[in-house]
């Protein structure tokens, strides 16, 4: 059973005061997220990522379509006890302390009183806020608020967590910690659905990604499949500071950094360059296939979408 099934969800807003007109924020979207995977929902700002998440959380109502979460209708209140949500740039009741806030959310999520205290303590440890648990949130930095946000999303031990731009506003260490936390959630068997426009995070973490642009789904697949469209090129690295003429003759593009040389060459020339290195008695360090980066795939998808939109005008 898939964790999330989005079945043609669509959202149209009415804009303007006197002369109302309709604005399509999300074209009919259909998507399936499997149980236990980390799913990245990628797109530039304003692409429709947050709208999709708000639809799934029941914060806005769809113009058409539906969704199923854990096999049940997404509007079913019992589903909400099984999901956690971190909104983009979260803001919380700033008159509460971190401990009080988590306690309150635990109450609303129906965590039994006996387990609540234990869960709150555990989550405070998990997100690194144990030392400041008694401080009011109005004194928290953006990064600390993001941690509180993650804490409240996982507090009730949900089966699925939805994160909207979880790395936003975090320093490199904070981003690393969030990435580690997501991997940990996956290892605990949870499904993670997160939106981001930071592609390196998605590439590192996700099992599968979907790309959305201007409210329309542009592509979906496993990160490895999307990035394994090898351009028929390999990268060869060897120890040395000069490029022998025999290798230059193979048409390799070479770049010398310190005592290493990196050459990119057509895959068909791979054996020839190894032979040349042997002849020249140079020490081979690595041969790796050049993969299309997720960023390149993403940019290509968006460029293609722009071209299609331009040609239909």
């Amino acid at each position: 059973m898939p964790a999330i099934e989005i079945l043609g969800l669509e959202k149209t807003y009415s804009v303007g005061f006197w002369r109302k007109r309709l604005k399509l924020a999300l074209h009919p979207l259909s998507l399936t997220v499997e149980d236990g995977e980390i799913f990245g929902f990628l797109g530039p700002n304003g692409a429709g990522k947050t709208t999709t998440l708000k639809l799934l959380m029941g914060l806005v109502f769809p113009s058409a379509g539906s969704a199923r979460i854990l096999g049940r209708e997404w509007t079913d209140p019992s589903v909400k006890a099984q999901i956690g949500f971190l909104p983009e740039q979260p803001y919380f009741y700033d008159y509460l302390t971190a401990h009080e806030l988590l306690e309150y959310y635990g109450q609303l999520s129906g965590v039994p009183a006996k387990q609540r205290k234990q869960r709150v303590e555990h989550v405070l440890d998990q997100v690194g806020l144990r030392d400041v648990q008694g401080v009011q949130l109005r004194k928290f930095s953006k990064g600390m608020l993001q941690r509180v946000g993650i804490g409240q999303a996982i507090l009730h031990d949900p089966k699925i967590v939805f994160f909207d731009e979880p790395m936003s506003g975090l320093d490199p260490i904070g981003r690393r910690e969030v990435r580690d936390l997501m991997s940990q959630l996956k290892s605990e068997g949870k499904t993670v659905f997160f939106s981001t426009h930071i592609l390196s995070d998605a590439e590192t973490l996700c099992d599968r990604v979907a790309i959305i642009h201007k409210g329309e789904l542009r592509g979906v697949g496993a990160v490895e499949d999307l990035t394994s469209s090898v351009q028929g090129t390999v990268e060869v690295i060897w120890h040395g500071s000069q490029v022998p003429a025999s290798i230059k003759a193979l048409g390799a593009g070479c770049h010398v950094t310190g005592d290493r040389v990196r050459a990119t060459i057509n895959e068909s020339q791979q054996d020839a360059i190894i032979d040349a290195l042997r002849r020249e008695r140079l020490r081979l360090i690595a041969i790796t296939p050049v993969r299309t980066s997720l960023e390149a795939y993403f940019v290509e998808k968006l460029r293609r979408a722009e071209t299609t939109a331009g040609s239909t005008k």
């Binding site: 807003y13 708000k54 959380m57 029941g58 914060l59 806005v60 109502f61 209140p77 019992s78 909400k80 006890a81 999901i83 956690g84 949500f85 909104p87 740039q89 979260p90 803001y91 919380f92 009741y93 008159y95 509460l96 309150y104 959310y105 109450q107 609303l108 999520s109 129906g110 946000g149 409240q152 999303a153 009730h156 939805f162």
Partner: protein, 258 residues
């Protein structure tokens, strides 16, 4: 369900306390003690009348200002600051949120009124040096004031569910003023003719009839309050607050949280 409403209500109360809303009690205490000392020195025989009139009117006005001031932001502020997102993504129904907010605000006002009532009785004791049986009527006036607050709370929540805090404040305060003259509006309606009669009658019965809750002057003159009026006002406040809250829920249930 009941517990979720209670949690939301208690958090609303906690917010009011932490945002120092109850500090108004200090201003109230200063006003009342100043007035008690002042009338004690200048008036003869009417000290009690002045203290009851001034005290109960202050209880009512302080409470109305708090109800409007907090009530207008109860929903709109949560949407604006997006604190609502993490609440409604939990197993909390939208109507539970509205009802919880209502009880939180109503509870804040009840606690506030309780402390103010102590102040009124203390001032009364200061000027008359004793309590008489008729002073118990002040409790009826306080009860009516609390009923008034329930109506104002539900109305501010209704306005807050669809408009900005500023507009909500304007709507709620206007209704309070018009409602305080509801009896005059009804008299006018009975004298008018044609379309204006129809319009005035509609308006007179649509606005909350706060004039029926104002028994401060008659109580200050130690005139008893009919049991029927107590029952009638209780049922009226219950009905009006339920209707306004239902309206708030109906609007909020359909609202997109952009």
């Amino acid at each position: 369900m009941r517990t979720r409403i209670a949690y939301i209500a208690s958090n609303t109360f906690r917010e009011a306390v932490r945002d120092r809303v109850l500090y108004n009690l200090i201003a109230f205490a200063l006003l009342l003690s100043g007035a008690a000392i002042f009338v004690g020195q200048i008036s003869i025989e009417i000290e009690k009348l002045v203290v009851i009139n001034l005290g109960l009117t202050a209880v009512s006005l302080f409470g109305i200002v708090i109800a409007i001031f907090i009530g207008i932001g109860l929903v709109s502020k949560e949407i604006e600051k997006r604190t609502l997102y993490t609440v409604l993504s939990r197993p909390v129904r939208r109507w539970e949120f509205i009802v919880g907010k209502f009880f939180g605000l109503a509870g804040t006002l009840v606690v506030n009124t309780f402390f103010m009532a102590i102040g009124v009785f203390a001032a009364l004791f200061y000027v008359s040096h004793k309590f008489v049986r008729a002073d118990a009527l002040i409790l009826v006036a306080l009860y009516f004031i609390v009923l008034e607050f329930q109506i104002i709370c539900s109305l501010t929540l209704l306005f807050s569910s669809f408009s900005s805090p500023l507009l909500s404040a304007v709507f709620a305060f206007s209704l309070f003023v018009i409602g305080s003259f509801a009896e005059d509006l009804r008299n006018f309606a009975s004298m008018a003719h044609g379309f204006s009669r129809w319009l005035a009658t509609g308006a007179a019965y649509l606005v909350p009839n706060f004039s029926a809750f104002n028994v401060i002057t008659s109580i200050a003159h130690e005139q008893p309050v009919a049991g029927q009026l107590i029952l009638q006002n209780t049922l009226y406040a219950l009905f009006y607050a339920t209707m306004a809250l239902s309206g708030a829920v109906l609007i909020f249930e359909r609202r997109d949280l952009k």
